[in-house]
Amino acid sequence: MKLDRKNFLAATGAAAAGAAIGFPAIVGAAPEPIRLGSIPCLTGSNALLGQQEHEGVALAVEEINARKDKVYGGRPFEIVEEDATNDNQSAVSALNKLLGEGVVAVVCPVLSTQIQAMAPVMKSHEIPWMTGGTAVKNTQLGVPGMFRLRGSDGITAAGMTNFAVKDKKGKKVAILHASDAFGVGGADQIVMNLKKMGMEPVANEQYPKDAKDFTAEILKIKQSGADVVLMYIQNPSDTAVILKQIHSLGLNVPIIGSPSLGNQTAMEVAGKDAYGTYCAVDFIVGFNSNVATHFLTSFYKKYHHLPDVGTGSGWIYDAVYMLADTYKKQKGTDPKQTIASLKAIKKWDGVLGTFSADAEGNMVHSVSIGQNQDGKLHLVKTVSG
């Protein structure tokens, strides 16, 4: 199949021109749509995350546009979506493309390295930027419109460490983490938290990307005599395999993981090897909240599978709704005004819980510890950061 670029571009250009000219004439003075930019990573090795982000945005927009008033005054949301792929360069290109198309706000990404690559561009575009990346540094980059709708690694790690030492009475803490920015950042935060308690990890194992066998790491942890293991891993595949191997190699100590351990995919794939494990999450199934229940049922109805709330679809659904609510209150989409309103949010109820903004744009300040009991997460306790 030869894609003749000139013809393709010409055809697209003609079609676009025709649509642009024809559409308003047909519809007359329709309420102007609000263009919302979204950059999930739809292809590449994080495609699963991208798909979850895409689904979360689509559901929120669909629900909002089905309301009588839509966002406000009959104005619907219009999603402008570009694939961030896996590559930082392409992600920045995607962002530039979006910005060139007049979006008033951007949601995504969730990968902190992409966020940091995009930061220089967003510094010169003061529009609301709803992100899900958890690296502590993200909100310290000086991007005026950035908001973080998930708990940062600082909060998550503190919660995990606290639980391990105080609740599980761990005296010899071992860490197992991935080699990507998420894993390393989280592990560093854990070490910092342990230091505050006057402790050091007895083992701090990092496994390389694409590793298939974790015998070496698990045996080392076993040999260190650890009595609790903290896992900081984002990839649900890796999580599942590690849990399986932990089980088969006989490492029978409490396991406390980062949010991905509570990730729907990870739990399904790991099956009974995940039973009994703990994780720190932004959200827990069954948590008493109308918003959350509604989200779960609508999501399942539309997509026929349960959402990955914390890491994927939930926070982004909240992001879109948060913007919609703010636009409705303001009856406008002025970026600077929106940013100021978002910064002033003190108690906004979403799927993930109650959001309130701090000066840096962080919106989540607590983390919940849940336990996987027969495949379902049950709330054990909440820790505030």
């Binding site: 571009l9 360069q89 920045v92 290109s93 530039n96 493309k97 910005l99 390295t113 930061a119």
Partner: protein, 324 residues
């Protein structure tokens, strides 16, 4: 090589016009999106030209260009962020370190050939990326290195894509000129002889290993320069950009453009950087189309796009095509 000299004279005028047009692009293109694409394409063209010297001229397959890209980027980034060096000397240092690494790695490896060399370069590339990920004290590891400053001349700071375009344009032109000089002089002829038949070349007294190492060092230096340019443009770098997959992308760009030709290298880089962007409307199926397109181009256009264009031109002008 009289043919080439005559060619350059008759090419002179159109070339000047081309350069003039290229120089004017930022004045009538204002979209940041398009400028990012063009800037990145230019930087990648430099990498691919370097690979062209090694693979196109000398016939040596290396899959380590991404590693040199990373070495250049991190050297330049580290010097400017941690030691406060101004950007221009940092770029020079990046090039020199890349050249040095190219020499150190090339010296033993270029005694090998064909698949052995390819695999050794793959190994080198993977090891380099692992070092970038794990040497946290220097590179900051997977978190990446940010706040890399843009270059400036006096008080004129190159911090927009439009301004940066000029730096890239100059770099591309200089690199193309250097490559052209190599191609048309004794070094180029030696490399070509090695490519055609290394044993015969050695028999005629050419120190094949020495020339291969020179080509390898040049390829590495070009990529190092490109890496540095990229770092100061994007202001943030992270190790995941310097993977084996990325080296493969550069290889495909060269082959599609036309491996023995400098303009082929540039064309391949530009085209294959723009292709995924053009295919964006296809959403997730775009990369399948990309893979299929690559296979199709290899099967139907063995000498790349430049080969195709030359064949077409030959038919139009009714002259035998150049054996580039």
């Amino acid at each position: 090589m009289n043919g080439n000299v005559t060619l350059s004279l008759s090419k002179g005028a159109p070339l000047i016009v081309l350069v003039a047009v290229l120089a004017l692009i930022p004045t009538f293109v204002h979209s940041d999106y398009l400028l990012t694409l063009v800037d990145t394409a230019g930087i990648y063209a430099i990498v691919v030209m370097g690979l062209g010297i090694l693979l196109g001229f000398a016939g040596q397959l290396s899959l380590a260009q991404a590693a040199f890209l990373g070495i250049g980027a991190y050297t330049s980034g580290w010097l400017t962020v941690n030691l406060g060096w101004p950007v221009w000397p940092a770029m020079g240092a990046a090039m020199m370190l890349s050249a040095l690494v190219g020499l150190v790695v090339g010296y033993p490896c270029l005694r090998l050939s064909g698949h052995y060399l390819a695999l050794a370069t793959i190994g080198f590339g993977i090891i380099t990326q692992l070092v970038l990920i794990n040497w946290k004290t220097v590179t900051n590891g997977s978190d990446g290195m940010g706040n890399i400053p843009p270059p400036q001349i006096g008080s004129f700071v190159f911090d927009t894509y439009g301004r940066y375009y000029y730096i890239i344009l100059v770099a591309v032109l200089v690199c193309a000129y250097v490559a052209w000089r190599i191609k048309t002089t004794r070094v180029g002829r030696a490399l070509e002889a090695i490519r055609e038949n290394e044993i015969a070349a050695r028999a005629t007294g050419i120190d094949a290993t020495r020339y291969k190492i020179i080509a390898f060092v040049l390829a590495g230096t070009y990529a190092g320069l490109a890496g540095s340019l990229l770092a100061h443009m994007t202001k943030f770098i992270s190790p995941d950009s310097y993977s084996f997959d990325q080296s493969v992308v550069f290889l495909v760009m060269l082959i599609v453009g036309g491996s023995a030709s400098i303009s082929g290298a540039i064309l391949g880089a530009v085209l294959l950087w723009f292709l995924p962007e053009v295919l964006r409307p296809l959403k997730t199926s775009y990369i399948m189309v990309y893979g299929a397109a690559v296979i199709a181009m290899i099967v139907f256009m063995p000498r790349g796009l430049i080969g195709l264009l030359e064949a077409l031109r030959a038919r139009v002008v009714r002259r035998p095509p150049e054996t580039a």
